[in-house]
């Protein structure tokens, strides 16, 4: 039986099941295999916030979404094309986002009376006609698996545990994916447990075979390879990328790396990764709290390490006072904040971009420091290295903002050639004769770094105001004014050392869409779509929030309207209005979810209407679009 094939540009598939169903595992495999196959990929794991909720419940559903295609894959996909649902709860939770005519691959075993009840279905959706607008393939996976295993001597309990690979096999057939990568991963992962390997490989193959034979699967979909730059690639999450970025930055700066941290969702993975890098000489202290996390890092920085601390909102709040100390002592320190939805404990597993104002201003006194933000999972690597570069070059703490979305989402990352990355030069003092701890370099205003062990440069620093140059404690009025200004100027001056803002599209005109952080993906996709549809719109993305790129003011004033989409109530909007007195239109969403590109597309389309433009002009820029995402 030969089947039809169809070429597609992009697809979004979502594996959903109970927490125990192994959806994260098959999701990761599917995404790696898609990478191997030469596609652009963007993935997002969607864990329940319970550790292990009761089986079959709505809040126990675990899912993994993969968006892949030939080009322009910047988000994890607005709508799902193919939904794998291992039980009724996972269907219920995920169907809202399924595209009409989308494919549902169901495991009927998960739709028994108990499961239906737990999911809150009064009738079985497989039978009650409610799924008519989708293409449903209902499979009794247990039964199918048993068939395939008849000739094998494997315990049936083991077989049952490989249903997820069966489902994966089906999807591999659907997108004509090779099985090799997953097979070799299984062999590596379960090395020594022959029956486990056998069961898994067999199930994977059985899934493929099942789909090939089954009449409900009418077509295979082909997604052409992307035009990617030649090189080595891997899938990487933002959190992994931060960990690697720190190791690479330390290497390029020829410094030991020290991490002082305290676990907190969704930042803990960075700690996990670094705690495994012992053979790279990484030292870490899992401290008793966030304050000890950052202050131990400050101690290590005083001793000459590239020091870092990683956290999320509540932890950043606790580090507030110590960040001020790092500002005053002018020690290099990388502070990574993987933002989550607040305030307070908030929605701890959900992303938001609402720590920007805190990163900028969340300290008593005038305590300026550089703030950067990563645009995507793989960009976390670049921006971490950049944060370390700035910290070491300017002797300053730097806050790098990522969030729970890009922290946990993954995308292919072109692995850099380490040797080709530029060196980072720490600002060590060298001459005891002229040494003073607060003497500054004229160009950067950075002070000198003399660390214990350097003979003849013994000195004392701390949180009290210092005399310019000598670093001696000073309560002098004019000195305080001077030092306050110097600290500000040092940070402001970094604007000369970072790339200017690039505008994609016309460099002036009606409307500029300006994104920052993880909204990059959705914004970019929306812009490309709108341009494809013939709209005139320009786009820029900010990675540097403090200082802003030098040309930002110019860029802004060259547009009639500036639109900023943010996962907060308008924090960047606020900063920009304050600094450039340029009215900004905010698109704001605080729902614990990233933007869909379609949401932005529609908002912007609305804005682009002549009527809206006129209304805006008539109101002197005071029309905001309502937050109704």
């Amino acid at each position: 039986m030969s089947k039809l094939t169809e070429h597609l540009e992009e697809v979004t598939i979502r594996f959903a099941g109970d927490s125990g169903d192994g959806m994260q595992l098959v999701g990761t495999q599917f995404s790696d295999t898609s990478g191997f196959a030469g596609n652009e990929v963007n993935t997002f794991p969607d864990y329940p916030s319970e550790i292990r909720a009761p089986e079959g419940t709505l809040y126990g559903v675990s899912a993994f979404q993969i968006h892949f295609g030939t080009r322009n894959i910047n988000t994890t996909g607005d709508f799902v094309d193919v939904l794998v649902a291992m039980n009724a709860a996972s269907l219920k939770v995920n169907i809202a986002n399924l595209r009409d005519q989308g494919i549902i691959i169901l495991n009927t075993e998960g739709f028994d009376a108990r499961n239906l009840k737990l999911a809150g279905y009064t009738t079985n959706p497989i039978e009650d006609g409610s799924l008519q607008k989708y293409h449903v393939v209902a499979i009794d996976m247990a039964k199918e698996l048993k068939k395939g295993f008849i000739e094998l001597d494997v315990p049936s309990k083991l077989i049952q545990r490989t249903k997820n690979l069966f489902a994966l096999g089906i999807t591999y057939w659907l997108f004509n994916r090779p099985l090799e990568a997953t097979v070799s991963w299984i062999n590596k992962k379960f090395k020594g447990k022959e029956d486990v390997i056998l069961a898994n490989v067999h199930s994977l193959q059985a899934g493929w075979n099942f789909a090939e034979k089954n009449e409900d699967f009418k077509k295979q979909y082909i997604i052409d390879k992307s035009q990617l730059a030649p090189g080595k690639y891997r899938n990487i999450t933002g959190n992994q990328a931060v960990a690697l970025g720190l190791v690479v930055a330390a290497t390029k700066a020829h410094l030991p790396l020290f991490l002082g941290s305290y676990p907190i969702t969704p930042a803990t993975d960075i700690l996990h990764a670094l705690s495994g890098y012992k053979k790279y000489g990484v030292k870490h202290l899992q401290a008793e709290d966030e304050i000890a996390g950052i202050t131990s890092a400050i101690g290590a920085a005083f001793g000459g390490s590239l020091a870092a601390t990683t956290t999320s909102g509540p932890g950043l709040s606790l580090k507030t006072e110590a960040i001020g100390l790092a500002v005053m002592t002018e020690l290099p320190l990388v502070i990574v904040d993987v933002q989550r939805a607040g305030p307070s404990t908030g929605l701890p597993t959900k992303p938001e971009q609402s720590d920007l104002m805190q990163a900028m201003y969340g300290r008593h006194g005038e305590a300026p420091l550089p703030v950067l933000a990563a645009a995507s999972s793989s960009d976390c690597f670049n921006m971490t290295v950049e944060a370390a570069r700035i910290a070491l070059k300017y002797m300053t703490p730097v806050i790098l903002l990522t969030d729970g979305y890009i922290g946990q989402a993954s995308e292919p990352w072109q692995i850099p050639d380490i040797k080709s990355l530029p060196d980072i030069t720490p600002q060590f003092a060298s001459d005891p004769a002229t040494f003073k701890p607060y003497l500054r370099k004229a160009e950067t205003l950075c002070r000198q770094w003399a660390i214990p062990g350097m003979q003849g440069m013994e000195h004392r620093i701390g949180g009290l105001e210092k005399e310019d140059g000598s670093g001696v404690v000073s309560h002098d009025a004019l000195n305080h004014q001077k030092m306050t200004e110097l600290r500000q100027k040092k940070v402001d001056g970094i604007a000369n050392d970072i790339p200017e803002l690039k505008v994609i599209g016309d460099s002036e005109g009606d409307l500029l869409l300006l994104s920052w952080g993880s909204t990059y993906g959705a914004a970019k996709t929306a812009v490309e779509k709108l341009k494809g549809d013939g709209h005139n719109i320009s786009f820029a993305h900010l990675r540097y929030l403090n200082p802003f790129p030098k040309n930002l003011g110019d860029v802004l004033h060259r547009f009639e309207r500036v639109v900023i989409p943010e996962l907060n109530m308008g924090q960047l909007k606020n900063l920009i209005q304050a600094k450039y007195l340029k009215s900004v239109i905010g698109i704001n969403k605080v729902q614990g979810k990233p933007f869909k590109s379609i949401e932005l597309e529609e908002k912007i389309k609305m804005l682009l209407s002549l009527e809206n433009l006129n209304r805006w002009k008539a109101n002197k820029g005071e029309v905001d679009i309502p937050v109704d995402l």
Binding site: D32, K232, T295, G299, F302, I415, G453, Q455, E458
Partner: protein
């Protein structure tokens, strides 16, 4: 994994180290009040430094906030005047990153036991090799006189005009409960004793805690007179020395005897009591240390001074270094390229 730090570390000290205590006195005014107990701790510390045989660029003094916090300014070594309560984690980070340094912490009863209490108990537990000198004056002095976690119940201060309602911590007991390996107590009126305790703390590998009674002239004057004044201290304190009987009194004719777990006083001139009845100190016995620690607030018993506990245990930063070495020995030094490649990658 050779780094620039290694270069700095491996550079030998230029010239000979012929230090005297003067080499550790920076050219600044000491700004504690005249007669402040802190001043009396400064000189034994400065006198000890030359004896350590460590180049002064390898010595670091770290403090928090409080009158005690000024200490680093008066030591011509590297120094860090941290924020309130955080001297210990700053020091821990430094020592873990830089095991080659000699790290000293100077803190107060408020800095260390109030806002810094958590770091203190974790430092006790973790056993990073560093030495804590806690200036206990039983009051918050820098903020001009509020009761502290070591103030006694009923103490009248600016924030307890009708008397403090809290019972105090017994700092040495708390340290023992948190399993500190070295726990000692000294005071500001006997500099020789103090210097000896600091030396011992330095020699002890791992976390060393020395509580130091320091008189605050201004806000709690005379709080320790009974235990520190030459006229009364012999009768009201007992010096703890490993292997030595617990004798006290001007004529050393009184001793501590254990009645079950209960320390009692015996007079060697009475009832046929003999030195053999007197408890002999053992720094390595945690239970004994706890019993002695609990004599602290007793009305009848002399207050224990000296070394309560001195246990050998590997230090935390040693373990960190060893874990790295073991891993490198087992798997070879990390290859950054392969780390970046990760578990699976592909080529385009």
């Amino acid at each position: 994994m050779k780094t620039l730090i290694d270069d700095i570390l491996q550079k030998p000290h230029a010239g000979e180290m012929q230090y005297t205590s003067k080499d550790f006195k920076p050219d600044v005014d000491v700004r504690w009040c005249a007669g402040c107990g802190a001043i009396s701790v400064l000189s034994p510390a400065q006198r000890l430094m030359p004896d350590l045989g460590i180049p002064k660029e390898k010595i670091v003094f770290i403090s928090g906030i409080g009158c005690s916090g000024r200490f680093p300014y008066y030591m011509d070594t590297y120094g860090f005047h941290g924020i309130h309560g955080r001297a210990l984690p700053i020091a821990s980070g430094l020592k873990i990153a830089r095991p080659d340094l000699s790290v000293w912490i100077v803190t107060g009863d408020g800095d260390n036991m109030s806002i810094g209490g958590n770091h203190f108990i974790h430092a006790c537990r973790r056993n990073v090799d560093m030495n804590v000198l806690m200036f206990n004056n039983e009051v918050y002095s820098l903020t001009k006189g509020q009761y502290s976690p070591t103030s006694h119940r009923g103490q009248i201060t600016k924030s307890s005009p009708l008397g403090a309602l809290d019972d105090p911590f017994n700092p040495v007991a708390l340290a023992l409960g948190a399993s500190a390996s070295f726990v000692a107590r000294g005071h500001d009126k006997d500099r020789a004793q103090l210097q000896q305790l600091l030396q011992k703390a330095h020699q002890h590998k791992g976390f060393s805690f020395v509580e130091i009674y320091t008189n605050c002239r201004i806000f709690n004057d005379g709080a320790f007179d009974l235990y520190t004044n030459a006229e009364t201290r012999e009768e009201h304190t007992v010096w703890l020395e490993h292997g030595m009987p617990l004798l006290f009194g001007k004529k050393k004719d009184k001793g501590i005897k254990l009645d079950g777990f209960k320390p009692t006083i015996i007079n060697l001139n009475e009832n046929g009591n003999s030195i053999n009845d007197v408890l002999v100190h053992n720094e390595q016995d945690s239970t004994l240390a706890f019993i002695l620690a609990n004599m602290t607030y007793s009305e009848e018993l002399p207050r224990p001074m000296g070394t309560l506990q001195n246990l050998e245990r590997s230090s935390y930063e040693e373990r960190v270094v060893k874990q790295i070495e073991d891993e490198v020995n087992l798997k070879g030094e990390g290859n950054l390229e392969s780390l970046l490649l990760g578990e699976s990658h592909w080529t385009i």
